[in-house]
């Protein structure tokens, strides 16, 4: 089951440049929450703070409080443990190129020391099914490399890989920006189903996508969270002028 996320007074920095300013947000469990905003506004930085991916960049720094379920993200728990509970799907599909499809999906478990072959088979099967990829690859699980799939399939492979470690939260950083409309449609459908089991936070440049998949939407601008509300409200009757300007395309 998914868990909720609460963020209080989050500030993030790259060296001396501040990328996020006092972000506060509460994400409901088992819902999809979309983050929109122009390029460079801090959406990606924000979700990378949720699984401590931000700190893998040299000189990057964070302060503030983030809770994921019962788990305090920046207090005493290791980043690796946290990331097993908070999966991530990236902008560009990034399967492990030298691994087979099966090994790609099983990688998270295997590299964390899980080697029960029978259970692994089952988890790989279930994850690929959840990611709506099973039927397309079931005959080539061990024969084909993850990199040999098409872009859309690769992205679903990456989703399956993230699901295999059985996270509670799934972060998606513009998961469809490198995909054609048909693959995008498949992934959006997938997000709809995944909501039942996971809490999803998705960054997107595509406002229709946000409207289609998410119950809640946050609007970021210049590192600040301008508005956060029900998706319907954001797109029909935003309370902030800047949000309205952005979603109607009158911006800048």
């Amino acid at each position: 089951m998914g868990v909720g996320i609460s963020v209080e007074h989050l500030n993030a920095f790259y060296g001396k440049t501040q990328a996020l300013f006092d972000v506060n947000i509460t994400v409901l469990a088992n819902h999809a929450t979309a983050l929109i905003g122009p390029s460079g506004c801090g959406k990606s930085t924000f979700i990378r703070c949720l699984n401590r991916m931000h700190e893998t960049i040299p000189e990057a720094r964070v302060d503030g409080k983030v809770r994921i379920g019962e788990f305090s993200v920046y207090n005493g728990t290791s980043a690796t443990q946290l990331r097993r509970r908070v999966g991530m799907v990236f902008q560009k599909p990034n399967p492990f190129p030298t691994m087979s499809i099966y090994d790609n999906v099983g990688a998270g478990l295997k590299l964390n020391g899980f080697h029960n072959r029978k259970q692994l088979d089952e988890i790989v099967h279930r994850s690929l099914q959840s990611a709506a990829l099973w039927d397309e690859v079931k005959d080539q699980l061990h024969k084909k490399s993850g990199a040999s799939l098409s872009g859309g399939q690769q992205q679903r492979l990456c989703i399956a890989r993230a699901l295999a470690v059985q996270p509670e939260v799934l972060l998606m950083d513009e998961p469809c920006s490198a995909l054609d409309p048909i693959s995008t449609g498949k992934i959006e459908e997938l997000i709809f189903q995944l909501k039942e089991q996971y809490t999803i936070v998705i960054v997107t440049h595509n406002m229709q996508q946000a409207a289609r998949v998410a119950e809640f939407t946050g609007f970021f601008l210049l590192g600040k969270m301008i508005e956060f509300d029900k998706t319907e409200k954001i797109f029909t009757n935003p309370s902030d002028k800047r949000t309205e300007d952005y979603i109607t395309g009158r911006f800048g």
Partner: protein, 304 residues
């Protein structure tokens, strides 16, 4: 060729549907330059490959006649006695190279990992500088170092000392190529692993290094091939031996040493054997490199 193509493509578009820029035909000068550059490129490739083919053909011509069963199975005969072979040197070379690889490859790859994953700082710069200098140290000097490190302590020459000398020479090449190959692995691949909760060291070994495997192996093979024919560092480390020796702490024969000794001798029979030894050595190197390549390709998946 190119101008006929562009004409037919332009002809396929109905007039006035797309405003056409009238392209002038490709000038004689451009076509000439194109041909000339292609010609130069082909010529340089031939010039680069020519010495290799020349050496190989000449070695076969000079050496193949002296390769026979005795050459491959017997130890050297004393001067004046015909026959004999280099079997002990062939095995000795293999032993020394095995020791060198066992020592040099892990250190080289380890240093390469440090440089690429942890060495984007001053310490890394120091290691890079030292490694480049080490790469330029004359091989005979490396031999002296191994002499001081191993031979002086053991109080006699040995395959181990030869292996150490060659390992020292392998390390910088392997370290720098490994570093370059690991840097080619996109950051996104590492992030994918971090995102699954895989720790950094595990990511480096099981993801980054694995992704760069074929490049890293190329570096290892380069280093291997480079030291396989080295003679100078073995002169006072492995030393050479006229007889069989199966112990790694005893003076050991090596092909390159045997070739050296035989080539500077005044006897025709030894000269012929030196040619044969050179041919065997080059076949061994080509064979080892090919075998590793084939083994790696076997393990690679379709589309990887």
């Amino acid at each position: 060729m190119p101008d006929t193509k562009s004409k037919s493509a332009a002809g396929g578009i109905p007039p006035n549907s797309v405003p056409q820029a009238s392209m002038p035909p490709i000038s004689l000068r451009r076509r000439f330059t194109d041909r000339a550059m292609t010609g130069i490129a082909v010529l340089t490739v031939i010039l680069v490959l020519l010495p290799l083919f020349a050496i190989f053909t000449y070695l076969i011509y000079k050496g193949v006649g002296s390769i026979n069963l005795a050459f491959l199975t017997q130890t050297p005969k004393p001067v004046g006695e015909p026959g004999g072979g280099m079997a002990n040197a062939i095995v000795g070379s293999m032993v020394i190279l095995a020791i060198a690889s066992l020592l040099g490859v892990p250190f080289g790859i380890g240093a390469g990992i440090f440089l690429s994953e942890y060495g984007r700082n001053r310490y890394g710069d120091i290691v890079r500088f030292v490694s480049d200098v080490l790469n330029g140290v004359p091989s005979i000097v490396v031999g002296i170092v191994a002499y001081g490190l191993v031979v002086m302590r053991q109080k006699h020459f040995s395959a181990l000392a030869g292996g150490v000398a060659l390992a020292i020479m392998m390390v910088p090449t392997i370290a720098r190529t490994t570093e370059q190959m690991l840097l080619l692995v996109p950051q996104a691949i590492r992030e994918a692993a971090y995102g699954l909760g895989v720790s950094r060291w595990r990511t480096t070994l099981s993801i980054t290094l694995r992704t760069a495997t074929s490049g890293v192996i190329t570096g290892v093979m380069l280093a291997f091939a480079r030291v396989a024919g080295e003679t100078a560092p073995l002169l006072f480390t492995a030393f050479g031996n006229q007889f069989w020796n199966w112990k790694s702490d005893q003076p050991t024969a090596a092909l390159s040493l045997q070739i050296f000794t035989y080539a500077i001798s005044p006897f025709d029979e030894w000269h012929r054997q030196a040619w044969a030894g050179a041919l065997v050595l080059i076949i061994l190197i080509v064979g080892a490199v090919t075998a590793v390549r084939v083994a790696v390709r076997r393990g690679t998946l379709a589309g990887a």
